[in-house]
């Protein structure tokens, strides 16, 4: 039996951008993931609780409204605290304030404990393939 990888997706913070969230759900399902979508306006605790109950392999955080960096602060630490240190953490979207060099942004988020960081306009198909690779390693 092929066991599906479970991923928790959602939009963090006071962010209500729902369209991209639905597209991500659709594409990941097409790629054979078991998707648990907690939707918009989700807190770190919502992501973590969902990942615990569903025994998720990865958490994918989206953010479009520019405050993602604040919202994601200590996410990794909180995951470790909740016994989720093995769970892959991805983040993507318009995750910082203003226009910044993406290399810097990527580095900052990696330092915060994220495994992969995606800039605005990333191809979700590509991310799905990378996620599969990461999880099958």
């Amino acid at each position: 039996m092929v066991s599906l990888h479970t991923v928790v997706i959602g939009v963090i913070g006071a962010d209500v951008h729902a369209v991209g969230n639905k597209i991500i759900e659709h594409v990941l399902k097409e790629h054979g993931f078991n998707v648990v979508n907690i939707g918009v306006l989700s807190s770190q605790e919502d992501f973590i609780s969902a990942a615990i109950e569903t025994d998720a392999d990865a958490i994918l955080i989206s953010s479009l409204y520019g405050h993602g960096e604040m919202d994601c602060k200590y996410m990794k630490e909180n995951c470790v605290e909740a016994g989720l240190s093995h769970v892959k953490l991805y983040v993507g979207g318009n995750i910082v304030v203003g226009k910044q060099d993406f290399k810097d942004v990527e580095q900052r988020f990696k330092k915060m404990g994220f495994d992969r960081v995606y800039p605005p306009g990333s191809d979700i198909e590509e991310a799905a393939r990378q996620l599969k690779e990461d999880l099958e390693q």
């Binding site: 599906l4 479970t6 006071a14 962010d15 209500v16 078991n34 648990v36 907690i38 939707g39 918009v40 306006l41 919502d46 609780s49 969902a50 615990i52 109950e53 569903t54 025994d55 998720a56 409204y65 520019g66």
Partner: protein
Amino acid sequence: MSVHLLVDFGSTYTKLTAVDMKKERIVGTSRAMTTVKTDVLEGFNQALEKLEKAHPRMGEITTVSACSSAAGGLKMAAIGLVEELTAEAAKRACLGAGALVEHVFSHHLGKKEIKQLKQADIDIILLAGGTDGGNQECILHNARKLAEAKLDVPIIVAGNKDAADEIDAVLSEKNIEYYIVDNVMPKLKQLQVEAAKKVIRRIFINKIIEGKGIKKAEEKTGEIIMPTPEAVLNAAELLSKGHEDMEGFGDLIVIDVGGATTDVHTIGQGVPKRAEVILKGLQEPFAKRTVEGDLGVRHSANALVSLVSEYEFQKYYENGEDERADEEMIEDAVKRRQEEVDYLPDSDEEKAFDQALARICADYSMSRHVGQVEVVYTPLGNMYYQTGKDLTEIEYVIGTGGVLINAEDPKGILEEVQHKSDKKLELRPRDAEYLIDELYIMAAMGLLAQKAPRLALKLLKRHLK
């Protein structure tokens, strides 16, 4: 004539309601003290005698059905993984089945929790954890701990289905009574409690009744078919939904202020009424029951009064010209009620005090039951989170239970549940009609509904005033 007798073995009173099935009316009601300690039939026979005396031409009783909350009712422990998710789902399943939830545990059980379970006087344990296909490790751990603990308590397993076979193996080895049923939370935030509720009721009928000394009543009454709170919830649901072509009342609240606890039942989806409101948290049950163990006008009077300051207490206390209740008077009145739980107020002052206590119960139990909104300031404007049920558009609030029915001003107590300017974020009823279960028949009608739902609905509609 054929009379159907409905019996409610309550913690204090055994209550009878006789229904004439042909003429479709209530012949009469009666009550006597519940006698669990000696022989539960003593109280039953006394009540029956009273009923027959008052209605000598009542006719022959052809059928009987009964519910019970005597001898402490049904006590349960709920165990889950995440507190707000599967532990909460398990708790709601217990409450919906009419149980009192003595303990709620989340994550891995340790020695401390097992000890608490051993010491508590619990009838059934409900073990949940993990969505289907989700976490198995925690529920397996907890099943092993429960198996090792050798508690003489039936266990209902309603967690991740992937772990069922292994749990089956663990529990079957130890000669434990257990039942494996559908997950109470099969998908994230999705609540599915029917299967668990069914087994709870079956265990209640087959075993618990016997342990509490109520089984003997079955010689006279036939099977005791459910815990009383479940009967009340059934009646509320029937009244809300209607039956076939007979229309119901729509969304409603039933509130029962008691000596030890206050029960609140709501029937309705309670979904957000506005587009900018986003629903958060675990799915709400359509028929939802909550029980507040610290809100009651006798056994819990002390706990209740300690919730409000002396200043706040005055808001609930109204006694003619002598408007204030001073600290000493409050203390005395509380003491009297806790020491003598069947105390009946004998002066205007005491009556006003009881009224105040009941109003606090209604107000606080509603605060805890009802959904709340929280404002989120987003770059796109204000949005709102809603947790729990939106009851703003509820049409009827129904009061039942001895305290409310016998109160001087029962509607004054019920009005405490409505929208308040100092509790703006609570989604309380705004424009409801208030009804009282004057004959005290909600539980009886919930029982009758099993057999004759149309008649039960008709009688409820006729007698709630």
